[in-house]
């Protein structure tokens, strides 16, 4: 079978004018999906080929102004793990899918329940009682079918996490309890992968980026022998809070994958949507 090359891609491209008035060669989603079927190659690989030939897949056109064509190629060649598919994880997953992180690993052992509906973007009235990873697979297929997805129906623990995160350029903490977060941090340190920590309670949220050699969660939570009772047990979790944290986490993950050093490394972002608090605290 012939391999798709620059000529084939060029013939599929159309001239377009961007919001800034400049013209560029664009590859539409329908053309990509059609070529993917004809050539038996993933749409992701077609998009990488296009970008390498300075053709912009139209689905990523609004990304180019911030991360550039080379940045988009880098993302498409990256792998990220999202550990948890609830309030944080569902939204981070959606954002990374749309941003074009080429390969994603997701982990969650839960099924959706009624109380998830206020914030978990993968939950619907029709999928209550079904596993969260199944919703993730369906969502990936309808948003960005070329992304490689590994879905693990597991409860995160010290034994299974290494296998889930291995090979990833970044890991996103989308867990719902403090204890397991330390377990995830251990696995990330062991595998040498940067971790994007995030947590929520009521209107409060926090985000921090932890590289393997950093002090990490202990610098935030104060102790490993932990604080079992998070404030979220009393305050609950309205949908706006995980959405805000998820946006910061997705941005941190992408910055890590692109090798940018403007991250929350050795810092913690703390915010409170009710009290108008937004601060970045130095932890070093």
């Amino acid at each position: 079978m012939k391999k798709m090359n620059a000529d084939h891609i060029s013939r599929l491209a159309e001239m377009c004018t961007g919001p800034d008035g400049r013209t560029y060669r664009s590859l539409s989603v329908p053309a990509t999906l059609e070529a993917s079927g004809l050539w038996e190659v993933s749409s992701r690989d077609i998009e990488i080929l296009a970008l390498e030939n300075r053709i912009v897949p139209e689905r990523y056109q609004r990304n180019i102004g911030t991360i550039g064509i080379d940045g988009q190629i880098k993302l498409l060649r990256s792998r990220t793990a999202v550990v948890g598919l609830g309030g944080l994880g569902g939204s981070v997953f959606e954002m990374l899918l749309r941003w074009g992180v080429g390969s994603l690993a997701v982990l969650d052992h839960d099924a959706f329940t009624d109380s998830n509906l206020n914030r978990q973007v993968l939950s619907t009235q029709n999928n209550l009682g079904t596993p969260k990873i199944e919703a993730a697979k369906l969502r990936a297929a309808e948003i960005n079918s070329g992304i490689g997805l590994s879905a693990f129906a597991l409860s995160a623990d010290a034994e299974n996490l290494s296998g889930v995160i291995r090979g990833c350029g970044a890991v996103v903490d989308a867990l719902d309890n403090i204890h397991t977060r330390f377990t995830l941090e251990d696995a990330c340190k062991k595998e040498g992968i940067p971790l994007v920590h995030g947590a929520i309670a009521g209107f409060m949220g926090q985000v921090s980026t932890i590289y393997p050699e950093d002090s990490g969660l202990e610098a935030i939570y104060g102790t490993r022998d932990v604080l079992e009772t998070g404030a979220e047990k009393e305050l609950g979790t309205p949908g706006v809070t995980p959405a805000a944290v998820a946006a910061w986490q997705a941005a941190e993950a992408v910055k890590i994958l692109l090798g940018r050093d403007s991250t929350l490394r050795n810092k913690v972002l703390l915010f409170d949507l009710n009290d108008l608090l937004m601060t970045v605290v130095d932890l070093s």
Binding site: G84, G222, E234
Partner: protein, 76 residues
């Protein structure tokens, strides 16, 4: 001396009686003492900031300091 104490999230209730968080306290008071005065659970504090900088229960306060005390944030 006067300090401002801002209690976040589930800790807010311990400071409801304060006027905009303002407290009149003795010079050299430590955060630990403030936590005791306000009857807060000292063993369940995640993070303390004084003027935006990370602090501990043993940090001594000065006139005009702003203290922020955070409960553990663990949801997802």
């Amino acid at each position: 001396m006067m300090v401002r104490v801002k209690l976040l999230g589930s800790f807010a209730k311990f400071g409801k009686h304060l006027d905009d968080g303002m407290m009149a306290v003795e010079k050299g008071i430590r955060i630990r003492d403030i936590v005791e005065i306000l009857k807060m659970p000292s063993e369940n504090i995640m993070l303390i900031l004084v003027n935006g900088v990370s602090a501990t229960l043993d940090t001594e306060l000065s006139e005009g300091n702003t203290v922020q005390i955070f409960p553990p944030v663990g949801g997802g």
